[in-house]
């Protein structure tokens, strides 16, 4: 690092002033770079969706696929999951033991799992009404965009599982704290993307 005096770039993690802080600084920054790149990916899929909104080819359109009721529940669950995760992050900072963090993590995971289940029910409904991706360009883009987000959430769940095991094995070491922080960034990032999907795909679709 270019400045020699001890620094604590990530007070939110409550690390020591040693190697751990520097390590976390590099890795968390690297994860931000990854998120930027992933955001570009989502941005492009959003853009493609934008160009294909009209391309329904006579098939089901936004009105047919939008069930605001279900979307509202999904939003509540995903935002709730993010909220639970921020409690996990806070307890990681303020409490020595690992159990409180794990407790909130399990809330975050359950809530996200609920999100996925409701989303899956939506997908099933779409298939029932013939709104399959093979039907039109619009539906291809819809499935790709919502599916890409869903896939990210599913991958995140897998990650929470692996993280839980790591916390149980290693405890909340500096390294693990930095990993949890990165997972948290990812988790909140998926919320932001969902807000985009919620407003641009579903709300704008029936507006």
């Amino acid at each position: 690092m270019s400045n020699a005096k001890p620094m604590n770039a990530h007070p939110g993690m409550n690390l020591g002033y040693g190697e751990g802080a520097h390590d976390a600084e590099v890795k968390v920054f690297g994860f931000w770079v990854f998120l930027m790149s992933d955001l570009v990916t989502f941005g492009l899929v959003f853009a493609i969706f934008g160009t294909m909104v009209e391309a329904t080819a006579g098939g089901p359109g936004p009105r047919e696929v939008t069930n605001l009721h279900s979307v509202a529940i999904q939003t509540a669950l995903l935002l709730g999951s993010s909220f639970a995760f921020s409690w996990a992050s806070l307890s990681m900072k303020y409490h020595e033991g690992r159990w409180r963090t794990l407790f909130y993590l399990s809330f975050a995971a359950t809530s996200a799992l609920g999100f996925l289940i409701i989303e899956f029910l939506d997908f099933r409904h779409w298939i029932e009404i013939g709104a399959v991706p093979q039907r039109s360009g619009y539906l291809s883009a819809l499935w790709a965009l919502v599916g890409l987000h869903g896939l990210h959430v599913a991958a995140g769940l897998l990650w929470v599982g692996a993280m839980t095991a790591q916390i149980l094995i290693f405890g909340l070491t500096d390294d693990i704290k930095s990993r949890v922080t990165r997972l948290g960034l990812y988790w909140h990032f998926l919320d932001i993307v969902w807000v985009g999907i919620f407003s641009m795909v579903f709300l704008a679709g029936i507006a």
Binding site: K27, M52, G137, A144
Partner: protein
């Protein structure tokens, strides 16, 4: 499931095609397949015979040392380069005979130009620049390794997986026929059910992830791992260009991934992103592809500019003229490169206003590029230039690249672009910027840094002759294409009916043979140099009177690069120390060095993604699932184990560094007139006109 090999059948094995239906065309296809198979068998046999498997595994495949990963990237690039060159020669042979026909079938011809482009861009140019960045970035910024050493190895694995898929396509099935851009709907399931476009999609998507991770890794390394005191404007220019390339990789690879995956969904699952019917829109593909494709041009050329910058100041023994301008120019190019993608399809139906805007942006990008050329000229001006191999490449670059740049400005004008669009003029243009621009830089760079990596110089005479052959071969092969392009010879066309093209195409064929000779010269350079490695040895590490930190290490550098992390006060850190008369400072205190442990993550990712790509190409669903699940389980399992660092004891660091310092104390410094002589052991007598 009716077939455990999906849709793969015996009929897809190209090896025996020539026996079933003998012709020049099938002979070429089968020969290529046999070369791929026998080449692989020969490598395996050689490794077994020399009992090198353990060595290969421990020292290379599982190593996370950025230097070794860089060298492996270069090796991968060279293997694929050999294929690309031979394809080029076959294509030129076809074109020389293509008046009303040609030796190859149109389908085979289309496969050739598609694989040639794909191989040269994604599996030659990309590994070469990634290899250089891998090797040089940590050494130049005074770091011990990348920010994410394991991810670095995984990137290599993913890139190699893409290359492996393209190689497998030689033996099993066919490759796609839609050029390296693979535009749908021509490459869509309706017109080409496969497996060609599937090979392309999965090779590109998988290696694309590798490149994207490399970009992130390099960017974070440069931002966060610089030696104390090295401010941004103290970095070597190569690191600046590498940083810009890394930023481009991070942001420009997602469009390619998105385009590739959507194309994959179209083909595998019947989606309608780019199809002709049900609302698909091919223009989305064109935009996505070139949103990647144009920055890609600069991804490749910027590190080359970095190499030219290091080259001019080193071999002119001068500080780089206009460092700050060069940095600004590099950054400007990186930013503007995202605003010009549409010039790749001026003729595809957008309004003249949009075309004009992109045309102007394209012309503007020539300004920072021009700044660079002037910077290099001003650096050479009144320098004490040594006429070594890199300078020969530089001379060729100056003239040829300027021609290529000018033809680019001509093409930036949409009105002219309409006239020469899709002709050989375009082929001439991009070869003109990629060969003298990028490839010459790579070869020049190899001559400069090979001694650093392996401890001995490359043979100068062989090097110079080879350089001259590249320059002559390039000129003969590609400059005539400007003329036939203007005469109306369409690009990618398998035959023509205008006899006036024939003389030009014969010249380019002869040129292609010169290029083949140049490639042989390159191989010869390596062989001769390895044989004479005792005479060419430069173990002391600074054969060219270098200016940046990588030269302040022995050749080859120890695994840990620096015994203690250097303190940097200014640009050209090592040159400054030499001018002040106190280079090779012995550290006051040695400490234990912690290095990341070896891992097989890269190999795992290589195997799994090769399997996955192959399975998705041939619809072998069980293999796809197995590959995906196994690599996930492995990675999660990896995260659940503790991986302690390798500790190099202070004593060993001390001993190794002391041995090197003592060797320097005993050596006689070699002045610049004798740097290509045997007496050059890598201890340079400093001769810098304006070192600081």
């Amino acid at each position: 499931m009716d077939n455990i090999f999906g849709r793969l059948t015996w009929a897809d094995v190209t090896l025996f095609e020539v026996f079933k239906d003998p012709s020049i065309d099938t002979a070429v296809a089968s020969a290529a397949a046999w070369i791929a198979v026998l080449g692989a068998v020969a490598v395996v046999a050689l490794l077994t015979f020399t009992r090198r498997w353990g060595w290969l595994w421990r020292e290379w495949l599982t190593s996370v040392d950025h230097k070794k990963i860089g060298i492996m990237y270069m090796v991968l690039g060279f293997v694929m380069f050999a294929r690309g060159i031979f394809e080029g020669v076959v294509m030129r042979t076809h074109q020389a005979t293509a008046l009303d026909g040609g030796i190859l079938t149109p389908h085979h011809w289309a496969e050739l130009f598609s694989t040639h482009g794909t191989v040269m861009i994604f599996f030659v140019a990309m590994p070469f620049i990634t290899g250089f960045m891998n090797y040089l970035i940590p050494l130049q910024i005074g770091a011990r390794d990348m920010a994410f050493p394991m991810l670095n190895q995984i990137s290599l694995g993913l890139t190699a997986a893409g290359a492996a898929l393209v190689m497998i396509s030689l033996v099993l099935g066919v490759f796609e026929t839609g050029g390296w851009t693979a535009y749908p709907p021509f490459t869509g399931a309706a017109f080409d059910p496969g497996p060609g476009p599937d090979y392309w999609v999965w090779a590109i998507v998988i290696s694309g992830f590798g490149s994207m991770f490399s970009g992130m890794n390099f960017a974070v390394t440069i931002y966060k791992m610089r030696a104390p005191g090295m401010k941004y404007l103290h970095m070597p220019v190569f690191c600046w260009t590498a940083l810009c390339t890394s930023i481009l990789l991070t942001f420009a690879l997602p469009p390619l991934t998105v385009a590739g995956l959507m194309q994959g969904l179209d083909r595998l699952a019947g989606f309608h992103f780019f199809t002709n019917d049900l609302g698909g829109n091919m223009m989305n593909y064109a935009n996505l592809f070139w949103m990647f494709g144009h920055p890609e041009v600069y991804i490749l050329i910027l590190p080359a500019y970095g190499i030219y910058s290091e080259l001019t100041s080193t071999f002119a023994a001068k500080q780089l003229y206009g460092y700050t301008s060069l940095v600004w120019a590099t950054m400007s190019i990186a930013v503007i490169s995202f605003c010009v993608w549409l010039h790749h399809f001026f003729t595809m139906g957008q309004s003249p206003t949009i075309n004009a805007a992109f045309g102007i942006a394209t012309a503007i990008i020539a300004v920072p590029t021009g700044v660079k050329v002037y910077v290099w000229m001003a650096t050479l001006w009144r320098g004490r230039i040594r006429f070594t191999t890199p300078i020969v490449y530089m001379a060729g670059f100056f003239i040829l690249f300027t021609i290529g740049g000018f033809s680019g400005i001509i093409l930036a004008n949409p009105a002219i672009n309409y006239q020469v669009h899709n002709t050989q003029f375009i082929v001439a243009h991009f070869h003109n910027v990629l060969l003298p621009g990028m490839l010459f830089a790579i070869f020049a760079g190899i001559h400069i840094w090979f001694p650093k990596a392996f401890g001995f110089r490359l043979h100068e005479t062989w090097g110079k002759v080879t350089a001259a052959l590249w320059i002559a071969g390039f000129s003969m092969t590609f400059l005539p294409l400007y003329v036939v392009g203007l005469m109306g010879y369409p690009r990618r066309s398998s035959a023509y009916d205008n006899p006036e093209f024939v003389p030009y195409m014969i010249v380019t064929l002869l040129g292609a043979f010169v290029l083949l000779t140049a490639f042989a010269g390159l191989v010869g350079t390596f062989v001769v140099s390895i044989r004479n490695r005792r005479d060419l040895a430069v173990p002391l590490g600074d054969p060219w009177d270098g200016r940046t930190l990588e030269w302040a290490t022995p050749a080859p550098p120890p695994h840990w690069n620096f015994p203690v992390i250097p303190q940097v006060r200014a640009r050209d850190a090592f040159a400054l120390e030499k001018v002040e008369g106190r280079p090779y400072v012995v550290p006051e205190e040695y400490r234990d060095i912690h290095l990341p442990p070896s891992t097989m993550a890269g190999v795992m990712c290589f195997l799994a993604t090769t399997g996955l790509g192959f399975a998705l190409t041939w619809w072998i669903w069980w293999l796809a699932a197995l590959s995906a699940v196994s690599v996930l389980i492995w990675l999660i399992g990896h995260s659940l184990r503790d991986h302690p660092h390798v500790v190099i004891p202070a004593k060993e660091v001390h001993r190794s560094n002391q041995a090197w310092i003592e060797a320097i104390d005993l050596a006689t410094p070699v002045d610049r007139d004798h740097e290509t002589k045997r007496m050059n052991r890598g201890f340079a007598a400093t001769d810098m006109a304006e070192a600081t």
